[in-house]
Symmetry: C2
Subunit: 209 residues, 2 copies
C-alpha cells in the first residue's frame, strides 16, 4: 500500500512521525515522505530535520495521503503545485488524511467542502472558511477524509486508519508493538480539561487566525 | 537547558520524536540530536531519516540525556566511544533517560546497576544482565535515571520530566499545546491487555533476547 506523508520546512515533527510509526507497520506498507523539493526539512523548533526522499511527481497516486501541521504549512495554503498534487491524489486515494493544521491544507485544496473535519483545537473554527463543519473530536471520519486534532492525535488517527485498512487485529498488534497504552501524568491535554490561563497561553503562542 | 538525544541508524523514530516534541517546548530548552557521526540517521523502517546536528564531542555535558530504542542501538552496547560519552554525560547530568530499548544502552554503560528500570515489554527482563531491577511500569524514576517503556511511552516520560524540571503548569501547558489527550481506538497497548496470540506475534517480530 502506497502511503505518502507530505512534509515541508517548519513542520511539527510528531504530527508526521506519530502516524508514520503506525502506518509503516501495516503489512505491505510502502510509506514515503514526499515534499515539493526532496531533501531535509527542518522542523518548527529548528532542532531536527526529517528527510523527504521523493518529490510530488514521484508519487502522484498514493493510496493514503497524510498532511501534517506546523506553521510551515501556511505557505502551502496558496501553493498551486502542492494543492494540485493533493487534489489529484485525492481523486484516486483510498484515504485522504491530516493531523493538526494539516486540515487547513486539505481545506485550501477544496477537499473539505461540506465535510465534517477537525484540527488542532486552536485552529478548529478556521476550517469554516473552507466550507467544512468543525467537529470537536480527536479523530473525525467523513467518507474517505479522516482528520485528526492536534499533534499527538495523529497516533490515534493512524490506529483508526490501520483498523479500517487491515482489520482490528492488525491495528491492535501495531498498538502493542509500539506499547501505546498512554498514561500521561496529567489530564490537561484538551482545552476543557485545562485552566483558562493555560488555554489563553497556548492560544497566544499559537498565533491563531 | 542543554538536552541531548542520541540517535543512530535504525532507530525507532517515535522513541526520539515523542520526547523531542515535549522537551523542545521547555522554556530555555536547547535540544540537540547528537550521534557518533553527525548527519542523517535512517530509521528502522528505512522510510525516514532524522538529522543529528552534533557529534558526541560537541555536547559532552547535557543536562538531560536521552537514549531512544530501535534495533540500531544494539551495536552501541559494545561501543566504547558511545558508552564513555554516556558515562561522562551521566556524571554531570540532571537527568539520564531512555525510551524503549534505549535502557539497554544505559545498562551497557553501567548506569543501571542496582537501579529500578524499564524498557519495551519484550526486552524488560534483559535489563537484569546489567544489574537492574526490571519494573513493569510505563515510566520508572530511580534518582536521576528515568526510563520509559516501549516507543510511545517516551511522551509520558517526557511530560513527567517536564514537570520535574519546570513545574506542573509548564508540563500541562506543553500537554495542551500538543493536544495530548490520548484516546486510542483499542485498549491493546500492553501485553496484559492483548490476546496471547498478539503477544506471541510481537515477541517473534521483535527477535528478543
Amino acid at each position: 500500500m502506497r502511503i505518502a506523508i507530505l512534509i515541508f520546512d517548519q513542520l511539527t515533527a510528531l504530527d508526521a512521525v506519530g502516524p508514520y510509526e503506525v502506518l509503516s507497520r501495516l503489512p505491505g506498507a510502502d510509506l514515503r515522505f514526499v515534499a515539493k523539493e526532496p531533501g531535509a526539512k527542518r522542523t518548527d523548533t529548528g532542532a531536527l530535520a526529517l528527510s523527504a526522499d521523493l518529490g510530488l511527481a514521484d508519487l502522484p497516486d498514493p493510496e493514503i495521503v497524510l498532511v501534517p501541521g506546523g506553521e510551515g504549512n501556511r505557505p502551502l495554503l496558496g501553493d498551486d503545485e502542492v494543492l494540485d498534487w493533493l487534489r489529484s491524489a485525492h481523486e484516486t486515494s483510498a484515504w485522504t488524511t491530516s493531523v493538526c493544521t494539516g486540515s487547513l491544507v486539505l481545506g485550501a485544496a477544496g477537499l473539505l467542502e461540506g465535510k465534517r473535519a477537525t484540527s488542532h483545537w486552536v485552529y478548529r473554527e478556521a476550517l469554516r472558511a473552507y466550507g467544512a463543519e468543525p467537529v470537536d473530536a480527536r479523530v473525525v471520519e467523513d467518507g474517505k477524509v479522516v482528520t485528526a486534532a492536534g499533534v499527538s492525535s495523529g497516533i490515534d488517527m493512524a490506529l483508526t486508519l490501520a483498523a479500517r485498512v487491515a482489520g482490528d487485529d492488525v491495528a491492535k498488534a501495531i498498538q502493542l508493538g509500539i506499547e501505546y497504552d498512554p498514561d500521561p501524568p496529567f489530564d490537561a491535554g484538551a482545552p476543557h480539561k485545562a485552566t483558562p490561563e493555560l488555554v489563553e497561553l497556548i492560544r497566544s503562542l499559537e498565533n491563531a487566525p
